[in-house]
Symmetry: C2
Subunit: 372 residues, 2 copies
């Protein structure tokens, strides 16, 4: 065990301090014979606002008090204290754990009762999100991770837990992006790349990697296997903020593709507190565009009809504050609805296997033809 895991000393001590303060407040109240409580910022849509100035989703000031001596709140109060203790153990041991692992670590039957500390992992996941916001930290700083997805290749060297990884020589497989991409774990080495091309699916990523797009266009190539997990979003954020690289997205022309872009750009509505450290307001949407059906001369075979749910989602997304005032985005979503069909990135294969890497993306990049 040469190298300890998780966050670096500074962040770890800061996070331990925050957990300590929470514990001290609870203990002090108890010793003074007051009702112990924890204040948790509300993670509701009503407490989420979009800041035009910062171009970010932000959490408001509303909080929810959880008291120990309140039968409706006691269970959640105790779960909060229990999981805070679990995270403290992790930080002190300099280990990381999956969300499921933390559920198991904190799972027991309360002595003298038949009551389990948690009914299922969903219950503990919710409380862990509460702890994130209550401590104004991130899950990653609590040494918690989720299933990892996503891979990277390109003109950059990263240092991951002390190992130097040259993403220019990662073969057909690539570097698997970890779940925790904090600066204490991942540092950036030499980088010649001028931008990041982020694609939705790993099969499309393989096309770009096989055609060595990242080499011919001097970029970094990432994928997030659908909706990118937090690790991929945090990595893209850091590539953007720390190295100044534009993040250019190639996603399907459907509400799901638009929503992936929305989350990369502004953050997730349910988890607004993470936006400050994950949202990339400058991210760009290169395609697929509704106009591509005509523009690329695609055949009717690639059309996938929009169903009712798609139409409903498209209308919801059009009303998001960061899309509502942007005419190009309103036009884009209207054009898709008028088309009445979706298109996948793979639909370009009907032109030629490498049309997407040799014609479509290079032309759009050259013309700076993207949506903001």
């Amino acid at each position: 065990m040469a190298r300890k895991a998780g966050t670096g000393k500074g962040v770890r001590e800061e996070t331990l301090g925050k957990i300590g303060n929470l514990g001290t407040a609870v203990a002090t109240a108890a010793l003074a014979e007051h009702d112990p409580f924890v204040d948790v910022p509300m993670r509701t849509i009503s407490n989420t606002t979009y800041s035009e100035a910062r171009r970010l989703l932000q959490m408001g000031d509303a909080t929810l008090r959880r008291n120990l001596f309140n039968t409706a709140q006691a269970r959640k109060f105790m779960q909060t204290v229990l999981l805070s203790k679990g995270c403290k153990d992790l930080l002190e041991a300099q280990k990381t754990l999956s969300l499921r692992g933390m559920y198991y670590k904190s799972l027991h039957t309360i002595a003298g009762t038949n009551e389990k500390t948690f009914e299922d992992q969903e219950e503990s996941d919710g409380i862990l999100e509460d702890i994130e916001v209550a401590l104004a930290t991130l899950r990653e700083n609590l040494h918690l991770f989720a299933k990892k997805r996503g891979t990277m290749v390109g003109n950059i060297t990263v240092v991951d837990n002390g190992d130097t990884i040259d993403c220019r020589h990662m073969g057909t497989g690539g570097y698997a992006i970890p779940s925790i991409c904090e600066p204490s774990v991942i540092q950036f080495g030499k980088c010649e790349a001028k931008f990041v091309l982020h694609v939705e699916k790993d099969t499309v990523w393989s096309r770009f990697n096989e055609d060595r797009f990242w080499e011919t266009h001097n970029c970094i190539l990432t994928e997030g296997s659908g909706q990118p997990p937090r690790g991929v979003r945090r990595l893209l954020y850091r590539l953007n903020k720390e190295l100044g690289l534009p993040i250019i997205c190639l996603l399907d022309c459907d509400p799901w593709g638009h929503y992936i872009y929305s989350v990369i750009k502004q953050g997730s509505i349910n988890l607004a507190f993470e936006s400050e450290r994950m949202a990339i307001p400058d991210a760009r949407y290169l395609g697929i565009r509704a106009a591509d059906f005509e523009r690329c001369g695609l055949s009717g075979d690639v059309k996938i009809s929009l169903n009712d749910r798609d139409t409903e989602r498209a209308k919801q997304i059009a009303e998001y504050p960061w899309f509502a005032k942007k005419k190009p985005w309103q036009k884009e979503i209207q054009a898709m609805l008028r088309n009445g069909f979706k298109m996948e990135v793979e639909s370009l294969i009907t032109k030629d296997i490498s049309y997407v890497t040799e014609v479509y993306v290079p032309e759009r990049l050259k013309a700076k033809d993207w949506l903001d």
Copy 2:
């Protein structure tokens, strides 16, 4: 585009030859005014047998003839020819394509009709499996790939498409195992490892990687994110056959875990033809074992009740020919059924975060306590 993709020259030419022969046979019949046909080995359970001698699932000799001049068969006949042509294009271009990509590549509306060549990808995937067996080849040799899953670290160097990847220095993320792991793409370099530990989930893999288990126990660490995809199975097969490394599996104690082991060991019943190049009859099942609940002193909290479907699946798996005659496996499945509950690998976290890496697996390895 420095390096061409896909299989090496020898395999590529052999596969091209097979596709050519199929095309020639069809064309010759047509020119002689005979009814062209393609014979496709039957991929049914009735045409699948278990060879005790080879300890493998094998496909029998039964074939199905697809004629052009038969209204019930003409569509599938034409799809077979169309996709064979698609694979020929890929091999000649030295490119690879995802199954979805090949669906799009071959998708068009037949001139003068409203008939699409394929209704959906499922239809083309089925025909591609037919082509694999009809040509006695593997999908990977037709330059087709699927979504990749799974990662690797450990005491081995691999060469992937000309890039040297030192799996001893892959940080917290790891090397993403590609979908095509044929010898023409992936070669093995220096390897000190004495065995492979294959775990079911990437979150468990992270625990082993963080604790540097592969370093302290001189092994390779892989995961397949559930049921491992063909790429991971092929890689494990090659590590076993070419480097002589035992493959030791750590999976959940439930019918799903047992089935993952079954597929790694004997192959998939639906795709028996792939067994010869993917099944690992010597693979070992280390745990989780039904007896571990008592043996490890776990608390009742980790029990997950078996539902009716689990019980049914467990009984089916017990009757698989490679388990039916093995008393230890019969006992294992009976013990699980008698317990009435499943257990995940993560249940060991209730003992200690690193109990699985520091106690459970080392003790079992030392005692050679596994199922064959």
